[in-house]
């Protein structure tokens, strides 16, 4: 029955498989979320009896023909209770008239309420047992397997053996391969100690209890009790012990061959797959996810950053599964081809390879000393040599390379070298903070990390994955300490005179950029080469940047495209981790160095640049008079700051674009437009961000009475709703966030790709876009929906108010608006406003305001230091207005 086991292995020696036999039984009634009507007992003649959750009889009652079966296999030490939500949701969907999926979820033998036979079952037995059960049930095709934990392996084993009937596979935190060079995870290693195995898994419920403690958030006590129900005694837990002991820890393990067979077989599956992953699993870490994704070619993947091993308890996986089943008939790879994608990003580097004109000027090069100028000739050669060197160091097309290098020549060379050889660059903003950056980098799973010493130190300290490459030659001890495999110098030497491989197609993924995370964990946004090429072209045509343009590169995402635009870029002397410290003199020196006509600034830097204008010398002022365009991107810049920039750069047109990491340049507003549309002179609600730039389309999905953006996107003026955008330079998708991408993606019948921005606003009669806030910050009061930016602006215009935030409290549908204001001079403690101030704020707001609160400082998101964190503000206001302590927001 089972493959011959080398009985000498100590972990197997003791008592495996023994224990009194017992037939399958029905679970007790009243377990939370489990309808007893779905439980049935199935006897496989000559084998054993099973407890199975099965909605087949219910579907028959409804008189609906199932379109297929979901065969759900739990892991160790759970039971089919794990799948209760999927059974219920699939049945409810069928009752509501959606395509009916039969759900069959057995308790594995020796587990849950299925039979105890006194037999030790190995992986191969379990795969075979499941096949006998499905034969007995005479399950018709098509079947989609659904598995969790080691049940996922059993389910995939069934899938490999029944490929003729297989329509798809779903896995939840399942690993199918144990790399030879990688030890098994510590928690399991501990449980497998011979002295611990039986006490931890059978004699005591320690293993069961440890697993039940892995909920994020913690499982309710009744749910834990339900999981414990079939495992009340040591005898009932023998299966748990045998399951743990069956984990193939090394090559010699009797189940290793079966695991390898399944792992290999999975590669041959040509069905769609859905891979759901809880990132906080202490056992199944991301490397197993990578391995699985390498095997499943047609996988949708969503990695839930806040979910753990018990992902089926932590998130609404059932809705995700049903949604995925609903989309399955669509082709999996439906991205349009990148025809006519324009010139490659490194084309100018090739065409200018013999030019001794400057390409880059670093005002404060990392080595110290004065400004350093790099010619096109040198940059072009360096990029080529580095690219070849990276190939020699094992960087392959499609590999992910995390760039932890400050802006400047090194970053530029690394970026273009990676792009040229088809490696995917992972760019995370240092402004995410160490923890956010670490989550972003580890979540993106780089194969290689290219860094300067601070980045490499963080990579080492925080255990980021990937081969480490240093931009600088390091002393041997440092190099060893940081685990550095190679330096740029070595790679350049290795790559000198070596031919480059063929460039990647324009449809290939080029970059993963991480968003600010001001609305949750940072998301990786994926761009193809074609999309970055389109972004370059949009910048070129809208701002007139081209070959020979002098550019001050103070905003990284656009500045990095300088060489692709053919621009002569100057990196000002600045601390990249603290953009708010950039000074006017640093900008002026950079402008002088490249005779700049275009200046890019990060929004966080603008205030300090304006504030330090007094320190400029006459010659520095003179350099700034030659600037024609100044662009601050990333977050809206207040009018007074743009006015300040306008005074600093007297001949320039200050401009602020509207965009997001997913679409960096969608509309643009000049200072003149902002002056003309300032709220005091306009009846429109919100902030005007200008008209769409050439090639961009903007539509509005109107809000319904519940505050949801359910409307059909249209360009009709005057309707408030979610802003949706379309452009060739829009992002491709999100990294391992299939559900997020589904929510954000919009396809029009004409095939155009649209992105739901999560912002709300409206278009005016001239086609200009007005932003009214974030969709999640829309209030739904008893009188209808209310967007925050308009009232905030009107309150902010009061002379004593520095800044205002609109918070919403109470249940959606009957929410109350609360105005929270920062005053000049600032108050020392938070509190309620004086009756006089409250009256003025109410009169200005234009909407009913339940309470006016004053605070020393409004909470803002860390990256931009400009967007009021209304979610946090609302939580705080809800607390203090309920009678809680008057703490700081």
């Amino acid at each position: 029955m089972s493959p011959a086991a080398p009985a000498a292995l100590p972990r197997e020696a003791e008592g495996a498989g023994q224990g009194p036999a017992a037939p399958a039984a029905l679970p007790p009634r009243g377990l939370p979320g489990l309808d007893p009507a779905f439980s049935r007992l199935v006897d496989v003649p000559g084998e054993a009896s099973w407890h199975v959750l099965d909605n087949g009889p219910r579907l028959a009652e409804l008189g609906v023909e199932p379109v297929g079966t979901l065969l759900c296999v739990h892991g160790n030490p759970t039971w089919s209770y794990l799948w209760r939500r999927l059974v219920a949701a699939a049945t409810a969907a069928a009752e509501a008239g959606a395509p009916a999926w039969r759900v069959v979820a057995p308790d594995q033998l020796e587990m849950g309420f299925s039979a105890r036979t006194g037999t030790r079952r190995r992986l191969a037995d379990r795969v075979r047992d499941l096949g006998l059960l499905t034969d007995e049930l005479a399950l018709p095709g098509p079947v989609v397997t659904v598995g969790h934990d080691w049940g996922g392996v059993v389910a995939l084993g069934w899938a490999v053996d029944h490929a003729d009937r297989l329509a798809g596979v779903v896995t939840l935190n399942t690993a199918v391969h144990q790399p030879e060079d990688d030890p098994i995870p510590a928690p399991l290693r501990l449980a497998l100690q011979p002295a611990l195995l039986a006490p931890a898994t059978r004699t005591t419920p320690a293993f069961l209890e440890t697993t039940l403690a892995l909920g994020h958030p913690p499982l309710p006590a009744e749910v834990k009790d339900a999981y414990r129900a079939p495992y009340g005694t040591a005898d009932r837990r023998s299966g748990i012990r045998d399951f743990v002991a069956d984990i193939p820890v090394d090559e010699s393990h009797p189940s290793r061959a079966e695991l390898d067979r399944i792992a290999k077989g999975v590669r041959g599956l040509d069905v769609p797959a859905l891979v759901l992953w809880g990132a906080k699993d202490p056992v199944f870490r991301d490397r197993y996810l990578d391995d699985l994704l390498g095997r499943l070619r047609f996988a949708r993947v969503h990695r839930f950053p806040a979910a753990g091993h018990l992902i089926a308890e932590d998130v609404d996986y059932a809705a995700a599964v049903l949604e995925w089943l609903g989309e399955r008939p669509r082709a999996v790879d439906d991205e349009p081809s990148a025809a006519d994608a324009g010139a490659r990003l490194w084309s100018v580097l090739e065409s200018q390879a013999d030019s001794d004109e400057p390409a880059l000027v670093e005002l404060a090069p990392p080595g110290g000393g004065g400004p350093r100028t790099i010619s096109w000739r040198l940059l072009s050669r360096r990029v080529g040599e580095l690219a070849a060197g990276l190939v020699a160091a094992g960087v392959a097309p499609g590999d992910r390379v995390s760039l932890l290098v400050p802006p400047g020549a090194d970053l530029t060379a690394a970026l273009y070298a990676c792009l040229r050889i088809g490696a995917i660059v992972v760019v995370a903003d240092a402004g995410l903070g160490v923890a956010g950056l670490s989550r972003a980098v580890t979540g993106a799973r780089p194969d290689h990390v290219i860094g300067a010493v601070p980045g490499l130190t963080a990579a080492r300290a925080l255990g980021w994955p990937g081969q480490r490459i240093s931009v600088a030659r390091l002393p041997l001890p440092t190099r060893r300490a940081l685990g550095v495999a190679a330096s740029f110098g070595e790679l350049i030497e290795a790559g000198r005179g070596t031919a480059l491989p063929a460039p990647p197609p324009s449809s290939a993924t080029a970059a993963v950029l991480f968003t600010s995370g001001s609305t949750g964990p940072a998301k990786g946004v994926v761009y193809t080469h074609a999309q970055l090429q389109a972004l370059r072209d949009a910048l070129a045509s809208h701002y007139g940047v081209g070959v020979g343009t002098g550019l001050v590169a103070g905003f990284a995402p656009f500045a990095l495209l300088g060489p692709a635009l053919g621009a002569r870029s100057a990196t000002p002397d600045m601390d990249v981790t603290s953009p708010a410290t950039l000074t006017a003199t640093a900008v002026a020196d950079a402008a002088a160095a490249v005779d700049a006509t275009v200046v890019f600034l990060s929004p966080a830097a603008v205030a300090n640049v304006v504030a330090t204008a007094d320190a400029l010398s006459p010659s520095q002022r003179d350099a700034l008079t030659r600037v024609r365009t100044v662009l601050s991107a990333g977050a809206p810049v207040a009018r007074d700051l743009l006015e300040g920039i306008g005074r600093l750069l007297p001949n320039a047109t200050p401009s602020t674009p509207y965009g997001m990491t997913e679409g960096l340049l969608m509309t643009a507003a000049s200072l003149d437009l902002i002056r003309a549309t300032d709220s005091s002179g306009s009846a429109e609600e919100g902030v005007c961000v200008g008209a769409p730039i050439a090639g961009v389309r903007v539509r509005i999905a109107a809000l319904d009475s519940a505050g949801a953006a359910s409307g059909v996107p249209s360009e009709e003026p005057g309707r408030t709703g979610e802003i949706v955008v379309s452009a060739r330079h829009l992002r491709d998708g999100y990294d391992r966030l299939w559900l997020t991408q589904r929510d954000a993606d919009l396809r029009e019948p004409d095939g155009s790709r649209w992105h739901r921005t999560g912002d709300v606003g409206h278009l005016d009669a001239e086609g200009r876009l007005w932003v009214e806030g974030r969709l999640v910050h829309v209030l739904v009061t008893a009188d209808g929906v209310l967007t925050p930016v308009g009232p905030e602006q009107r309150i902010g215009a009061l002379p004593e108010v520095v800044r205002a935030g609109l918070a919403g409290i109470g249940p959606v549908g009957t929410q109350q608006a609360v105005a929270v204001v920062e005053l000049a001079p600032a108050v020392r403690r938070p509190g309620i406003a004086s009756p006089e101030l409250a009256a003025r704020v109410r009169a200005a707001a234009g909407v009913p305001i339940a309470a006016v609160l004053v605070v020393p400082r409004l909470p803002t998101d860390i990256r931009h230091n400009s967007k009021v964190d209304r979610t946090r503000l609302s939580r705080w206001a809800e607390g203090v207005l309920a009678g809680g302590r008057m703490v700081l927001p």
Binding site: I832, P848, L881
Partner: protein, 322 residues
């Protein structure tokens, strides 16, 4: 319609009798003292007197029942006699007299267990957890009324929240009197958000309930202005209207609740002449949020408040000659 209004000597009772009469109904009032209203038939008597109650409901088609013992402290037996037994007597007499509509005036405190209420609709009356004798007996009274709802006897429960207005001897007069003698504290930060009801809005809601009784009978409706405000702002508004100083000293809510418990105990043994300065009920009322979802109330009663808070403050100030 011939309508009996009980408790018409109070501020809301009087306003309700006037509002119902102004809508073209024939109004009879019933309470212990004189109602002092023009154009109504005034019958005097106590709810504890079954014969007087039977006489009062004779020949009327509808009842709006406001009469209650409203106080922060007192003998539990007194509360029960009026708020429970009096209601039982009135319900029985009304049914026997052929009354077809019965609007029972209750209070949101019947469902208030001490936790904050932020945007909730009316919860069922909960005498086991209600705070204080008034709320407990009103909760039991409300249950009696709803239990009596039947075909041909349409009972609607209306719970106006913190009714105030000119000539209010309860809330407004006490706040103003204590503010003048500097005995009005704020509990905690004074930020707890509370909904209140200007008296004319409460009266128009009761008229709406009377007219809509046959469509919405069996329901309980919280009625407010739908303009919640921080409690400090509300108190300051009332004080400003009366020309009294706004409260300026603050007591931690936990301490106030403890003191309230102690004072309640003493008052039960040796009732003072005035209301006790603080009870647990009052401490909860002044330090936790109480604002309500008014959508169902407004839709079912086809009613909206006509007097805004600001207009209410103006009218209150006018009544103080300011």
């Amino acid at each position: 319609m011939r309508v009996l209004v009980t408790g018409a000597s109070g501020m809301l009772g009087g306003a309700t009798a006037r509002t119902v009469a102004a809508a073209g109904h024939e109004v009879r009032t019933f309470q212990r003292g004189p109602a002092n209203l023009e154009g109504v038939e005034d019958v005097r008597g106590s709810l504890t007197d079954a014969a007087a109650v039977a006489a009062a409901v004779e020949g009327v088609e509808a009842v709006v029942h406001l009469a209650a013992k409203v106080s922060l402290a007192g003998d539990p037996a007194d509360f029960a006699a009026v708020n429970i037994e009096g209601t039982r007597t009135l319900l029985g007499a009304a049914r026997r007299a052929g009354v077809r509509r019965f609007v029972h005036v209750s209070s949101p405190s019947v469902a208030h267990t001490g936790a904050s209420i932020a945007g909730d609709d009316a919860a069922p009356a909960d005498p086991e957890h209600a705070r204080g004798e008034y709320a407990r007996t009103k909760a039991l009274g409300e249950r009696l009324a709803l239990d009596a709802d039947a075909d041909g006897f349409a009972v609607v429960v209306v719970r106006p929240h913190l009714v105030w207005g000119p000539g209010d001897p309860q809330l407004v007069a006490r706040i103003v009197e204590r503010a003048r003698s500097r005995r009005l504290p704020l509990l905690g930060s004074g930020a707890a958000l509370i909904d209140t009801t200007y008296v004319d809005n409460a009266a128009s809601a009761l008229l709406a309930a009377l007219e809509r009784a046959e469509a919405v009978h069996g329901g309980s409706y919280v009625v407010t202005n739908g303009e919640p405000r921080p409690v400090a702002e509300m108190l300051a508004g009332i004080c400003a209207a009366a020309g009294a100083p706004a409260p300026s000293w603050s007591v931690p809510p936990g301490l106030a609740r403890a003191a309230g418990g102690a004072v309640e105990a003493v008052w039960r043994i040796r009732p003072g002449e005035d209301e006790p300065p603080m009870t647990r009920f009052l401490a909860d009322q002044l330090s936790t949020a109480h604002w309500f979802d008014q959508r169902r109330t407004r839709a079912d009663l086809q009613w909206r408040p006509q007097v805004s808070l600001d207009e209410g403050f103006r009218r209150l100030a006018a009544s103080y000659g300011r």
